[in-house]
Amino acid sequence: MSAHSPAAAHALPQLPKAPTGIEGLDEITEGGLPLGRPTLICGSAGCGKTLMGIEFLVRGALEFNEPGVLMAFEETAPELAANVTSLGFDLTDLQERKLLRLDHVHVDRSEIEETGEYDLEGLFIRLGYAIDSIGAKRVVLDTIEALFAGFPNQAVLRSEIRRLFHWLKEKGVTAIITAERGDGSLTRQGLEEYVSDCVILLDNRVIDQITTRRLRVVKYRGSTHGTNEYPYLITANGISVLPVTSLRLDHAVSSRVVSTGIPALDDMFGLRGYYEGSSVLVTGTAGTAKTTLAASFADQICRDGGRCIFFAFEESPAQLLRNMASVSINLQAHLDAGRLLIEAARPTLNGLEQHLVTLHRLVKEFRPTAVVIDPITNLITVGNLNEVRSMLTRLIDFLKVNGITALFTALVSGRGLQQEMTDEGVSSLVDTWISVRDLEGVGERNRGLSILKSRGMAHSNQVREFLVTSHGIELLDVVLGPTGIVTGASRLAQQMQERAETLAVQQEAERRDREVERRRRVLEANIANLRTEFESVEEELRQISANEQSRRQALLSGQQRIAAANPPAPGAPTAESGQ
């Protein structure tokens, strides 16, 4: 019995939660606000407390079919309706459909005279009636602080507010109570945060002239929650909270490969390109053609039928188009075909979070297969290092989860070892890291490209020199000199020297060939001479032999004639021997 299996632990009932529908907030609170309990949202002016409350109601009504009551102490119903129209919330329509009830509570100290004992039962009755009239599941009170201004008796108010929270709980409605931030405490009265089951703190901070809104879940009874400060934004679609990092690393991966846009660079990768959905970082010092590399990639993506968003933080779209046209990368055509989107903005235009949201929005609208950010380094001008890093982490996560190939460029400063570190420290997050740099020597600078890492793929270990020509980027073949790889003028010198050597070797070979030929001819002449000599000797000998033959013939015939005239004596053999 002592050992509980994890499955049994899971089977325990979880705290029921009411999803807010607010982007990101449900992720941080792991499902939403505590169902049927009061939640306090506190913050200073301009944090979006009222907006968060209204969005909670509107999303609840539209997405979860939970009607809601908004009891406003500060703004009237028409004012509220007008204020949120820009976010696409039609409060009037919701009211007509009985999904929302707006109740403006007007508290005016000057109208009220206090004589003797009282309580706030009227408020309870009013709220109870509003809840019952539409069967509301959600309630927003914005802000009960106003009560303190209207009623002088603090003791009564405090006990009544305490009673209100309990009453809301008994009613079983999921409530949001907004409160103004106090000095040194979460709320001005120092009361609400203790009687709420969940407290969310909104904060509006200006650092280096850039405002970032942040949200923190201060407490959440009976549930775990994200404890960090999460930046959030008020966007055109309501509040958007961005969890700093996604909770798990469980995105799907693709084993398809996309081309880098430069054939020779493809060759440096074992599978001829980047994995689809991976993130690529191109780092380099100033003027090492990072943007050109990025544009080549964007161009390739578009030519392969994909869609690409190019975030340019340094150049205007027109400038980018002109500059890339000069190296035969025709981005205009893709732009016209609607495959490419160039989003150019100064990084300082918005806070980091705004950039992230813009990116999210564009990615959702444009549905690209690849995203290029050129360069991420400029974002540092907007936030500090930590913020940029966390933003990039989120960005990379977001793109990976969506299976979008991402290419970032980053400017690195300094030389030597430092070149292999990015200021943003994102190098550990990316899958492929290409480094471009100046190779300086003998009075000139040349560009060199190398692959520092490429997860899950073999890659070349060479530093390849490349040229930015009018046809785009060209990687040059590796030339080995006496002291390693040579570049630039040395490369040319080396090549000329090699050519000269080759020529010399070739000439030597030809000379040898000619010599052989000559010798052969001499030998052949000799052979002919000898043969002629032999022929003459042969003829002479043959002549002698023929003469001999004819002489013997003549002798023989002479003897026969003699024998015929004188019959042979018994000693004829003598004649024979006499020959």
């Binding site: 508290v107 109208e111 005279e113 206090e114 004589t115 004992e117 009282y118 309580d119 039962e121 009755i125």
Partner: protein, 107 residues
């Protein structure tokens, strides 16, 4: 607007005072408030007032109209402007000031 308990007293020739007392059930505070109110009216507004008692437990929808939060609340509807007095009306002086009633010189 349903009237729950309209206590109508004899009409005077001067301007009628229309008073409305919001209560929530028969709580001690409400009972005290109504008793006090009747006493003051008899004393200072004899024949020129009309008291309407609204029980919000019965008619919760009426709370919105007069912006009632506290119980009990006394609302002076006529004469204008609307004045509100919250509490059990135990402090006579403040009630009279709140209602802007010139007290009838003590008998």
């Amino acid at each position: 607007m349903a009237e729950v308990a309209a206590v109508e007293l004899e009409e005077g020739f001067q301007e009628m005072w229309e008073l409305r007392l919001y209560v929530a059930g028969q709580t001690p505070k409400s009972v005290t408030a109504l008793a006090n109110l009747k006493k003051y009216c008899e004393q200072h507004l004899k024949g020129r007032y009309k008291i309407e008692v609204v029980d919000l437990l019965v008619n919760p929808q009426l709370a919105e109209g007069d912006q009632i939060l506290a119980i009990p609340t006394l609302v002076r509807k006529v004469p204008e402007p609307i004045r509100k007095i919250i509490g059990d009306l135990s402090n006579e002086e403040r009630v009279l000031v709140g209602l802007d009633v010139r007290p009838v010189s003590s008998k």
